[in-house]
């Protein structure tokens, strides 16, 4: 299963890169959202997807799945959420001030 999920993460990275390379700011934001999904999937997979019980000690089980990657991903989800939120508002403000979401047209001021 690890191989499959890794390839899946690769597909996510490909799509995310393609979106980030596009001209529309909205697509770039979509791309970053997908890229963070790919990172989370990869973190999970590299920890090993062995079958075991959920990491709750109350469960009466022989083995548990690794808890550390889960903690890392949890932190990462929150951070990427914060960044996405800021990025979205930034895009919104940019559009309000400049009237465009096309990155080719966002060329700074002439006198700079």
């Amino acid at each position: 299963m690890e191989t499959l999920i890794t390839i899946l993460a690769g597909v996510l990275v490909t799509v995310a890169t393609y979106l980030i390379l596009s001209r529309s700011l909205i697509r770039v934001i979509l791309g970053t959202a997908i890229l963070s999904h790919a990172a989370h999937l990869l973190l999970m997979t590299m920890g090993g997807l062995k079958q075991g019980s959920v990491p709750l000690l109350g469960e009466d089980a022989g083995s548990y799945v690794d808890a550390l990657p889960q903690a890392l991903i949890l932190t990462s989800i929150v951070i990427s959420f914060a960044v996405t939120a800021l990025f979205l508002v930034l895009a919104y403000r940019t559009y309000q001030e400049t009237g465009t979401d096309n990155l080719d047209e966002l060329r700074g001021f002439k006198d700079e």
């Binding site: 299963m1 690890e2 499959l4 999920i5 390839i7 899946l8 993460a9 690769g10 597909v11 990275v13 490909t14 799509v15 890169t17 393609y18 979106l19 980030i20 390379l21 596009s22 001209r23 529309s24 909205i26 697509r27 770039v28 959202a33 997908i34 999904h37 790919a38 999937l41 999970m44 997979t45 590299m46 090993g48 997807l49 062995k50 075991g52 990491p55 709750l56 000690l57 109350g58 799945v65 690794d66 808890a67 550390l68 889960q70 949890l74 932190t75 989800i77 929150v78 959420f81 914060a82 996405t84 939120a85 800021l86 979205l88 930034l90 919104y92 559009y95 309000q96 979401d101 990155l103």
Partner: protein, 817 residues
């Protein structure tokens, strides 16, 4: 002792370091004091105060003459950076003293001359004298220092001071251009020299010239010998205006004439000569050293003399003449280094003649060239022009200037009884001697040296005649000059007259200097061969050199007589050195080239930068993978896939691939939401309840945010790009995805090889015991790795603040935050 007394008068109550160190630093102290003096004593010309420094120093250095002529040297150390071996190791031997006397002696005369040359009403004298004192101090530092790093520091200060002086009239474009040019070329050389010094340190482990000389054998056998030598020589050649780095010197003539006389004829341009002479005991004896210096010197000598002939500006002629004479001295140092071919300097007149001629001509050149620049300055000052096509008939109007010029020019041309004749004779002897050397392939090529030297001397003779005849003889045309032309004030004439009389004195009594100055200087260049017996005389009998001199005079006069014919040729009409074009092209090309590179690379488009980064990452990672053959896929440790997972993966993939094709923002938000919720389902499958919970919540909030913002953003348009653009993007994306997947797969496979135990067991055992909780993920987040969580909360807080600020804070264009 006179020395001590003078000292105490000068530094009463001041901070005293030590004798030589203080001598070296007096000009710097003056440089600090001058602006204050200038401000409070407007009525007296600042130059009078400045004059004290070089004058006192000259007398002070004279007091060392008995020491060095006895063959001794004085050394002194002032710690600077002892841990790196960089200290002010001052060392005075014959060569240092010769230069120190030149610097201070001519410095005093130049300051005296400048007092009358520069008006105290119109000129910013404080700038001028501060720069001049900086220069003098740095120059003394170069010649007195034994530590090569300290030499380098002072070397660069002379470059800076020289550029400041060239651009003294900074409102003239030609001045600043000349300053930039000299700065670029000499600093280029200076940096190369620093490289050479560093290599010498690498070879020998010392910065001291004394110790380098002591380790000369070790240096000669090192593989870094040639690079070190070439780099040091680059420094010497650029500073001393050797071919093809000579182009900065004619443009430096935009400086005030006292500066040209001091820096660009007598002192700074001789720093390279000093360096070569100083390093002869280190590098001498190698065929490369001999050939490079001799050839560069000879080419410079030749090129400078023929270029000088076609100049029409007094100072330009003198500039090219300086280049030519520096080439002459350089040639002699190169030829003299052959002495080291047989071990460390054998005493043999064949070789030592060249060194003697170099040292002697060094002194002579400083005297006559200084006086010539000063007289050219007088002509300029009194007539308002330096163009030889306008000048003429000044002999009766400026008799003293004309006489001093005549003496200087005759000496430069090499006529008896002036000192230039003696050094030229010695020069010819040196080059003729080369023909009898039987090493370094000199049997075949040696004959070229006297030949080229002779041709260059003919041209030297020619431009000397031109200088004198065009300026002082002929018809006086008052309409060419603005205002009334008259002889210069006495104050201005004193310095050239002193130098002119030195020319005669050294010419008539050449052995005045031999035991006191020339022999110790030669001993410093050839330390192993002691006991020179220098005896310079005018008459050697009828020998080759005499016939060469007669030939020079005859051909020179003939060429001058035929000047009307050859002055029509293109060669004579073209004034500017062709090598300037090379420099100009390089300079423009550098600016245009860097602009072009910047334009290509800095497009200002996010997409391009992202593409650069992606391409670079793919290339570097892909290369590393291939280089170490790090591809591996390991299926042994893989868990099995349930049909349910297959379904999830297929839907997930389909949803993701669909995103770039969506041209409707609502659809886009929905699909993004689908992807997020599917990810939550994955987390459920991977036995991660907390992750699934968080992912669900975060995804929901994100979707809400997307909806809020998208409603205010424009409609998601179809990307109107050319197919090629899309194709390139696709290729880059596939590359990134491919490298990413390969690395992840390989890492997973290699993980099994290494087989480190996971620390998961620790958490299983201790979550309850140490953390008091059953949920391992939560215990890790708040107990074992609580710091992560704290900072993650901080991130959220900052993002919230950022969002709030972005929405609330509205500043108008000119408003400050």
């Amino acid at each position: 002792m006179i020395k001590k007394e003078l000292f105490y008068v000068l530094i009463e109550g001041g901070i005293l370091l030590d004798d030589i160190a203080l001598g070296n630093n007096i000009p710097f102290l003056f440089a600090i004091l001058i602006p204050i003096l200038y401000k409070y004593t407007k009525r007296i010309h600042t130059g009078w105060f400045v004059l004290i420094a070089p004058f006192v120093l000259f007398i002070y250095f004279l007091s060392y003459l008995p020491v060095t002529s006895a063959g001794d040297a004085i050394s002194q150390t002032l710690n600077w950076v002892p841990s790196l071996g960089i200290n002010f190791n001052l060392y005075v031997d014959g060569l240092s003293l010769l230069f120190a006397l030149l610097i201070t002696g001519i410095g005093a005369l130049v300051v005296l001359y400048s007092i009358f040359y520069l008006s105290k009403k119109t000129e910013k004298l404080n700038n001028f004298y501060v720069y001049l004192m900086l220069f003098m101090g740095a120059m003394l530092g170069i010649v007195l220092s034994d530590n090569i790093i300290v030499i380098y520091v002072f070397w660069e200060i002379t470059s800076i001071a020289s550029s400041l002086l060239i651009s003294y009239w900074f409102y003239r474009k030609k001045s600043t251009d000349g300053a930039v040019k000299s700065m670029l070329i000499t600093v280029f050389g200076g940096l190369s020299m620093l490289g050479g010094f560093s290599l010498l340190y690498v070879i020998s482990g010392t910065f001291s010239i004394r110790e380098l000389i002591a380790n000369a054998d070790m240096i000669a056998t090192s593989s870094l010998f040639l690079p070190a030598m070439l780099l040091v020589l680059l420094g010497a050649f650029t500073k001393s205006a050797q071919f093809p780095f000579h182009i900065w010197l004619p443009d430096a003539m935009e400086a005030p004439t006292p500066v040209s006389a001091y820096l660009h004829s007598a002192t700074m341009v001789k720093a390279g000569i000093y360096l070569v002479a100083r390093f002869t005991p280190v590098f001498g004896g190698a065929a490369e050293w001999f050939w490079i210096i001799s050839i560069v010197g000879t080419v410079t000598l030749f090129w400078g003399s023929i270029s000088a002939v076609r100049q029409k500006d007094l100072k330009s002629i003198l500039a090219f003449s300086t280049i030519s004479q520096l080439g002459l001295i350089m040639t002699l140092l190169g030829l003299g280094s052959a002495a080291y071919y047989y071990g460390n300097g054998v005493e043999d007149t064949l070789y030592t003649t060249a060194i003697l001629a170099a040292v002697f001509h060094l002194i002579n050149h400083a005297t006559f060239k200084g006086s010539l620049f000063m007289t050219a300055g007088i002509v300029d000052h009194e007539t308002g022009t330096r163009d030889i096509r306008k000048l003429g008939g000044l002999m009766t109007i400026m008799p003293i200037t004309a006489t001093v010029s005549l003496i200087g020019l005759a000496s430069m041309a090499g006529l008896p009884p002036f000192n230039g004749f003696l050094s030229k004779e010695l020069f010819f002897t040196g080059t003729v001697n080369v023909t009898s050397f039987d090493f370094f392939n000199l049997e075949t090529w040696g004959i070229l040296f006297p030949l080229v030297a002779w041709i260059a001397s003919v041209f030297t003779f020619l431009y000397c005649i031109i200088l004198f005849m065009k300026t002082f003889t002929g018809k006086f045309k008052p309409e060419n000059y603005d205002g009334h032309v008259h002889e210069a004030p006495w104050g201005m004439l004193i310095s050239p007259m002193i130098l002119g009389s030195l020319v005669i004195i050294f010419g008539l009594f050449p052995n005045l200097l031999s035991s006191s100055i020339i022999e110790p200087a030669m001993a410093a260049i050839l330390p192993e061969a002691q006991g020179f017996d220098v005896n310079i005389s005018h008459w050697h009998g009828f020998n080759t050199e005499l016939f060469m001199t007669i030939g020079v005079v005859v051909f020179g006069v003939l060429l001058y007589m035929m000047m009307r014919k050859w002055s029509q040729t293109a060669f004579y009409q073209r004034e500017r050195d062709p090598f300037n074009q090379l420099y100009d092209h390089w300079y423009d090309g550098l600016i245009k080239g860097s602009q072009a590179v910047t334009r290509i690379q800095m497009t200002g488009l996010l997409r391009d930068y992202m593409a650069y980064m992606a391409i670079f990452i793919v290339m570097i990672l892909g290369y590393t993978m291939i280089r170490y053959n790090a591809f591996a896929i390991d299926m042994t440790n893989v868990s099995e896939i349930t049909p349910y997972m297959w379904l999830l993966v297929i839907v997930f993939t389909a949803a993701t691939i669909a995103v770039p094709f969506i041209n409707n923002r609502i659809t886009a938000v929905i699909v993004i939401g689908v992807i997020g919720f599917l990810l939550a389902l994955f987390f459920v499958q991977f036995r991660a309840p907390d992750l699934a919970l968080t992912q669900l919540l975060v995804e929901t909030v994100t979707i809400v945010l997307f909806m809020l913002v998208f409603q205010r953003l424009p409609k998601l348009k179809k990307e109107k790009s050319r197919p090629r653009f899309k194709l390139i993007n696709l290729i880059i994306s596939l590359g990134v995805g491919g490298v990413f997947t390969t690395i992840a797969l390989s890492a997973f496979a290699f993980r099994n090889d290494v087989n480190f135990p996971s620390i998961a067991e620790y958490f299983i055992e201790n979550s309850k015991v140490l953390g008091g909780g059953y949920n391992m993920v939560n215990v890790i987040l708040v107990d074992f790795r609580g710091l992560d969580t704290m900072l993650e909360i901080l991130v959220l807080a900052i993002a919230a603040l950022g969002v709030y600020t972005l929405i609330k804070l509205r500043l108008k264009g000119s408003e400050d935050v």
